[in-house]
C-alpha cells in the first residue's frame, strides 16, 4: 500500500483547526467535479451554495435563525454522547417542547404579561425533559436500551402533535384547518434586528452553549460524564452513580431539545403547526459529532449545517438545481469533514509500509 496512516504521538493542535479547512477545500474540488458532471457551472454553483445565502443582512439573520435549533439540540446531545448515552429521539423531545410551550401560549391567549414568554420557555424545557424521562426511567429501572425507546417515542410524539393539531388545538376561527391561532405578541420572541427574523432564541442558544462549556470543562459532573464515556469500568470503580448520569444527560439533552421546540413555535413560526421541525432532532446528531462534541465546535457545526440548507435553497432559485443535489452535496461535505478529522491523530505517509500489520 502506498498511502498509509501513521499515528502521531499526540493529537495535533494545529490540525484541530486546519482539518476542517482542508475538508472544505476538498469538498469544493469534489463538488466542482460533481457540478461539472451535472452540467452546471461549478463556480456559480459554489457561489450559490456558500456566498449568496449570507451576502445580505437578511441572509445572515436567516442563517442564525436556522442554526438556532441545530445548535441547541446539538449541545444537549453532545453531553449525552460523551457519556455514551444514545438519545436519538431529540426530534420527539423537540415536538413535546413545542406542544408544552405552545399550549401555554394558547391557554393565556388573552393575557398580555411579560411573564408569559419565560413561562413558555420553561414549559418547553419541561416538555422535552418529560419525553426524555421515559427512556431514562426505562433504562435505569428496566435496563431498556435508550436508542429504541427514544426513537420510538419520537414517532409517538409526532403523532401526538398530529392528533392535537387536528383537534383540540385548532384555531377556532380557522375553518378546521390543522393549525393553531397565531400567538399573541406577548407569546412571540422579541426580534434582535428589526426587519429580519433574527429572534433572541439565537442568544439563548449561545447562552446554553456557554453553560454546557462550563459544565463539561469546569464541573465535576462534566468530568464524570467524560470518564463514564471513555472508561465505564473506571467510572464505576470511582463510585460515580451511573444511573444519576443517565438521568442527568437524558434530561439535559431532552430539555435542550424541548427548548429548541418552543423557540421554533414562539419564534419564526408564531403558532403551532403540524410540522414544527424538518428533522432538526436528527440533523443535530450530525452537528454534535461534527462539532466534536465540544460546545464551540457544535456552534460552528450548527452554522455550517444551516448554511448548507440555505445554500440548497439558493442553488434551486438561482441555478435551478434540484433539491436532490443539496442532499448529495451535504453528504459529500460531511464525508470530507468527518474523514479529515483523521489528520488530527494521524499523519498520512506515502511510500511502502514498514510492517505488514500497519497496512491494516
Amino acid at each position: 500500500m502506498l498511502i498509509r496512516l501513521e499515528p502521531r504521538g499526540e493529537a495535533s493542535r494545529a490540525m484541530v483547526y486546519q482539518s476542517p479547512l482542508i475538508a472544505v477545500v476538498l469538498t469544493l474540488l469534489a463538488s466542482m467535479v460533481m457540478f461539472w458532471v451535472l452540467g452546471t457551472n461549478p463556480l456559480q454553483a459554489i457561489h450559490a451554495f456558500f456566498i449568496e445565502p449570507i451576502s445580505t443582512l437578511d441572509g445572515l439573520a436567516e442563517l442564525l435563525v436556522k442554526a438556532t435549533p441545530l445548535v441547541l439540540i446539538g449541545i444537549g446531545l453532545s453531553l449525552g454522547f460523551q457519556a455514551n448515552i444514545w438519545n436519538i429521539g431529540a426530534e420527539g423531545q423537540l415536538t413535546l417542547g413545542a406542544i408544552f410551550g405552545g399550549v401555554l401560549a394558547l391557554a393565556f391567549f388573552d393575557v398580555d404579561t411579560p411573564f408569559l414568554l419565560p413561562a413558555m420557555l420553561i414549559a418547553g424545557i419541561i416538555g422535552g425533559m418529560a419525553w426524555a424521562a421515559i427512556p431514562a426511567f426505562l433504562k435505569t429501572r428496566y435496563n431498556t436500551n435508550e436508542i429504541l425507546t427514544s426513537l420510538m417515542l419520537t414517532y409517538v410524539g409526532l403523532l401526538l402533535l398530529s392528533y392535537l393539531i387536528h383537534g383540540p388545538l385548532r384555531d377556532p376561527d380557522g375553518f378546521n384547518f390543522p393549525e393553531s391561532r397565531l400567538f399573541h405578541d406577548a407569546a412571540v420572541l422579541p426580534i434582535i434586528f428589526e426587519g429580519t427574523r433574527l429572534h433572541i432564541g439565537w442568544l439563548i442558544a449561545l447562552f446554553v452553549a456557554v453553560l454546557a462549556w462550563i459544565l463539561i470543562v469546569k464541573h465535576i459532573i462534566g468530568f464524570q460524564i467524560r470518564v463514564i464515556g471513555m472508561a465505564p469500568a473506571a467510572a464505576s470503580f470511582a463510585g460515580f452513580k451511573e444511573k444519576r448520569l443517565v438521568w442527568l444527560t437524558l434530561l439535559m439533552s431532552g430539555g435542550a431539545a424541548g427548548l429548541a421546540g418552543v423557540i421554533e413555535v414562539a419564534g419564526p413560526i408564531g403558532q403551532i403547526v403540524p410540522v414544527v421541525s424538518p428533522g432538526y432532532g436528527f440533523t443535530a446528531i450530525i452537528v454534535a459529532f461534527l462539532g466534536r462534541l465540544h460546545p464551540i465546535g457544535v456552534v460552528l457545526a450548527g452554522l455550517l449545517m444551516a448554511l448548507t440548507y440555505l445554500g440548497g435553497d439558493s442553488a434551486q432559485i438561482t441555478m435551478n438545481l434540484p433539491n436532490a443535489v443539496t442532499g448529495v452535496f451535504q453528504g459529500m461535505l460531511l464525508f470530507f469533514l468527518l474523514a479529515s478529522d483523521v489528520l488530527i491523530s494521524y499523519r498520512i505517509k506515502f511510500g511502502s509500509a514498514r510492517t505488514r500489520e500497519s497496512t491494516a
Partner: protein, 363 residues
C-alpha cells in the same frame, strides 16, 4: 413579529379584490417575468407537487421567453417556508405561487414586505391586497367518481385511504358517500387514515386491509399510486388521485380525479404580464378546467358512463350540486335542508361525516 389582521370570513373577500398596481405590467418586453413556485413535496412524488410542476411547465410552454420560472421543492411547512418565499421575492420574482396550506401565514407575512409582488397561495383562506388564494373543487370530481362507485360496487362497501382529517379530505369522503348512496342507498364508506400524505407502503397496506374487509372499490386521498396497484393485483376497482394513474393498474382504474393547475397558472401569469392582476379567491372546478376526470374504464357500462357524464355536465351548467340537500350527518340530523345546497363556508370548514360513512373523524 406582528399579528396580522385575518380575513377570516369569505365574504370579506371583497376587501381583497381591491386592485393593485402591478409593476409587472410595466416591465419591459425583453425582461422576462420571473415566476416562483414553492413546493411541499419533491416534483417526483407523482401526486400533488408533480401536478403543480406540470402547471409550471405549461406556463413555460405558453409564454416562452416572456417568463422565467423557478421552483423550490421539498420546502418544509415550518420556519423554512417564510425564508424561501422571501428569497424568491427578494430575487426579483414578481409572481409567486405557494402550493401548500402550511405556507399560508408565511406567504401573508412575506407579502407585507413585498407589496410589488403578487402572491398566490393554494388552499388557504387568508388574503391581502397582493395575496390571492386558489383551490380546486375536487369534490366535484369525487361526486362523479362516487356515482360510478355506487353503481359498480358489488359488496356495497367503498374503501377510502385517507391522509389527515382536514376539511378538504372530509369533504371528499362526504361527496363520495352522498353521490354513491344517491344511486345505491345500501353503500357504506370505510375510511382508514394513514397519517401521511405520502408513504406508498402504508397506503398499499391500508388498501389491502380494506379489501380484506370486503371493500371492492378503493378511493384515496393520498398521493402515491400504490393503492391502484393493490386494487389491480386484488382484482377490485380503484379511483386515481391527482393524475391519471391508469398506467399503474389499467384494469382496476375506473377513472381518476385530475388536478389541472395549468389554466389557472396561465391566466394569472397573463394577468401579471398585462398589468391586470388582482387579489381574490378562486375555487374552480370542472367548469374552469381545474378539475378533470381521467378517461373512464371501458369496463364501466354505458349507462353508468352516461350517468357520470350527465352529472359532470350538470355540475358545469349549475343544475347539479354535489352537496344538495337533504343531507344528513351520521346521527341522522339534517344539516342541509331539501332544496338547498351547502354554502361554501360549510364546505370549506367541513368537519362532520354524512350518513353512510363508517367510524368517527379522529379529533
Amino acid at each position: 413579529m406582528k399579528r396580522f389582521g385575518k380575513l377570516t370570513s369569505l365574504t370579506v373577500a371583497a376587501l381583497a379584490t381591491a386592485t393593485m398596481a402591478m409593476s409587472g405590467g410595466a416591465q419591459a418586453q425583453s425582461d422576462p417575468l420571473k415566476v416562483g413556485f414553492v413546493y411541499v413535496g419533491p416534483v417526483g412524488d407523482h401526486g400533488w407537487t408533480y401536478e403543480h410542476n406540470q402547471g409550471r411547465l405549461a406556463l413555460e410552454k405558453e409564454f416562452g421567453d416572456k417568463v422565467k420560472t423557478t421552483f423550490v421543492e421539498k420546502v418544509p411547512e415550518g420556519a423554512d417556508a417564510q425564508r424561501v418565499i422571501n428569497q424568491l421575492a427578494a430575487s426579483g420574482h414578481k409572481l409567486i405561487f405557494t402550493t401548500s396550506f402550511g405556507y399560508m401565514n408565511p406567504t401573508v407575512r412575506v407579502a407585507k414586505k413585498h407589496p410589488d409582488v403578487a402572491f398566490e397561495h393554494a388552499t388557504g383562506f387568508k388574503r391581502d391586497k397582493n395575496v390571492a388564494t386558489y383551490s380546486a373543487r375536487f369534490y366535484e370530481g369525487r361526486h362523479v367518481a362516487g356515482l360510478i362507485a355506487g353503481k359498480m360496487t358489488k359488496t356495497n362497501v367503498i374503501g377510502y385511504v385517507a391522509s389527515f382529517p382536514i376539511p378538504e379530505v372530509i369533504r371528499g369522503i362526504n361527496a363520495v358517500a352522498i353521490a354513491a348512496r344517491s344511486v345505491n342507498p345500501d353503500v357504506k364508506i370505510k375510511v382508514v387514515w394513514v397519517s401521511s400524505w405520502f408513504d406508498p407502503g402504508r397506503e398499499a397496506d391500508a388498501a389491502k386491509t380494506m379489501i380484506d374487509q370486503g371493500v371492492d372499490i378503493i378511493m384515496q386521498h393520498t398521493d402515491s399510486p400504490a393503492p391502484i396497484q393493490v386494487a389491480e393485483s386484488r382484482g377490485v376497482w380503484a379511483v386515481g388521485q391527482a393524475s391519471n394513474m391508469s398506467a399503474f393498474g389499467s384494469k382496476a382504474h375506473l377513472t381518476a380525479i385530475i388536478d389541472n393547475w395549468a389554466p389557472y397558472y396561465v391566466a394569472r401569469t397573463k394577468a401579471v404580464l398585462d398589468g391586470t392582476w388582482k387579489s381574490g379567491d378562486t375555487w374552480g372546478g370542472f367548469k374552469s378546467g381545474m378539475v378533470q376526470m381521467a378517461p373512464y374504464n371501458s369496463a364501466i357500462p354505458a349507462d353508468v358512463v352516461a350517468l357520470a357524464e350527465k352529472a359532470r355536465k350538470g355540475i358545469i351548467d349549475g343544475s347539479v350540486h354535489p352537496f344538495a340537500g337533504p343531507i344528513k350527518d351520521q346521527s341522522g340530523k339534517i344539516v342541509v335542508a331539501a332544496g338547498e345546497v351547502a354554502p361554501d363556508g360549510m364546505l370549506l370548514g367541513m368537519d362532520f361525516y354524512v350518513e353512510g360513512v363508517d367510524g368517527k373523524i379522529p379529533k
